[in-house]
Symmetry: C2
């Protein structure tokens, strides 16, 4: 499949494809196409559907018949995602396959981030009854889990596509708003800080709190826990981490100078 | 309708009802029931549906037949929401009726907040083709707008119920997590910091950056603008502001001591 080539210069949404693997009910392909289009997505890939899209599919696609009509068809998932730098597999529950598990919101943020950086991205949905096989999950870089009611987690296929497409749209709109802001104010948000970068920052924060004698004999755990929560919630980007670490470095330097003074007093 | 009385001592989810007004296709009542149950909601109210739930409705409800079977039926929306303190009406587009318009996420936060406080809450969905009438919207305290593709905003009824139910579930889970944390660690999020508290914090932050010589001759505006954006985005509570100001005070103290040393050197 080389359908991607024509999308190289297009906006991020055009680099995100929805891949349906082994769909059993033709109607669901139509409903999924409709769910996608309501959220501004248009690239649908069908991997070995049990039946080709039929009249029922088109009836359920409603005004999204173009999305369904232009859907690519592949024989294997490997073929469908061959050119993708990020492949996210939607699973109803934790699996034996050891994959990082993302909530839809985090998955959408990552997908849109990659797509905005020029990468091809796939969100993969398995069969209605049995989901994705372990071999298929092995092709995914992470699993997406919709936090459904554990007593009844049976979202139908189109509903799962709707939820993920909705989160993708929010992430795309957010990015667009940030881009407009950047265009207006000359500021652009940097890539999100990685887990390792955040932990590096937290380690330096803990050292700094010691150095400036913030705890004053109290146990340091409670303050650090609150600070971790605050900064994780904020979703820092790389540059923000650099700025914060720069501030900490200067505070540490002041504490050292002050300590030398106290030591020499 | 007095179905609410038995829910008085129940968790917040039980005080949130989904109200479908004038549904035209019986299947959609079943799909909506399924969407609700996957997200842990169970109170469905049907206002004057064109046809009563039938075999197709139950087929589409799948394992959520209990939700559909226990649905209350009313003749008017006024009757369906008579005991509600918060009524949110889902609309596909802005209306002539002047109502505050909320995104699904904000609507869910407000709904769960009210329900957790003991109030009855309704999310109202109109007819497939024509939505809610102006008279019906007048009964709503705010409108909820799913930010769909403006060129094709035609979510089907069950898809709209799915998106809103998903956001309600996330808001309920978040509230639950906050409650568990409070129960376990005695930690509860404090009231959000006021505008004045944030500005007080930013003023002290600017002073501290000067004191620890963070800028080193560069213009201070860019760093402060990025820091403001970061901390405003994080949505600080009062206690977090106190902790951060405590850290700044200690860094300022260290800078003063260091300055005395430099001054005396």
């Amino acid at each position: 499949m080389s359908a991607a080539s024509s999308y190289l210069n297009s906006p991020p949404a055009a680099r995100i494809r929805i891949v349906l693997v082994g769909t059993q009910h033709p109607g669901n392909m139509g409903s999924a196409a409709r769910a996608m289009k309501t959220m501004g997505l248009s690239r649908l890939v069908l991997v070995a559907p049990e039946k080709a899209p039929n009249l029922e599919s088109y009836a359920l696609a409603a005004g999204a018949d173009d999305v369904l009509g232009e859907a690519a068809t592949c024989q294997t998932l490997a073929e469908a995602v061959a050119d993708c730098r990020l492949v996210l597999g939607c699973t109803a529950r934790s699996r034996r396959v050891a994959l990082e598990e993302l909530l839809p919101r985090d998955a959408a943020a990552r997908a849109v981030g990659e797509a905005a950086g020029g990468a091809e991205v796939a969100l993969v949905f398995g069969r209605e009854r049995t989901g994705l096989s372990n071999d298929e999950l092995q092709l995914c870089h992470a699993a997406v889990h919709i936090p459904a009611n554990p007593e009844y987690s049976s979202l139908n296929l189109a509903a799962a596509v709707q939820v993920l497409s909705y989160e993708l749209r929010l992430a795309l709109l957010e990015r667009e708003a940030a881009g407009d802001e950047a265009a207006q104010g000359g500021e652009r948000r940097d890539p999100p800080a990685s887990h390792a970068q955040m932990e590096g920052f937290f380690a330096q924060l803990a050292e700094t709190l010691d150095a400036i004698d913030f705890h004053k004999g109290r146990a340091p755990d409670s303050a650090m826990r609150k600070l971790r929560r605050l900064y994780l919630r904020a979703g820092l980007d790389e540059r923000e981490v650099r700025i914060l670490r720069g501030i900490l470095a200067d505070a540490q330097r002041m504490a050292m100078l002050a300590g030398e003074k106290r030591g020499s007093a």
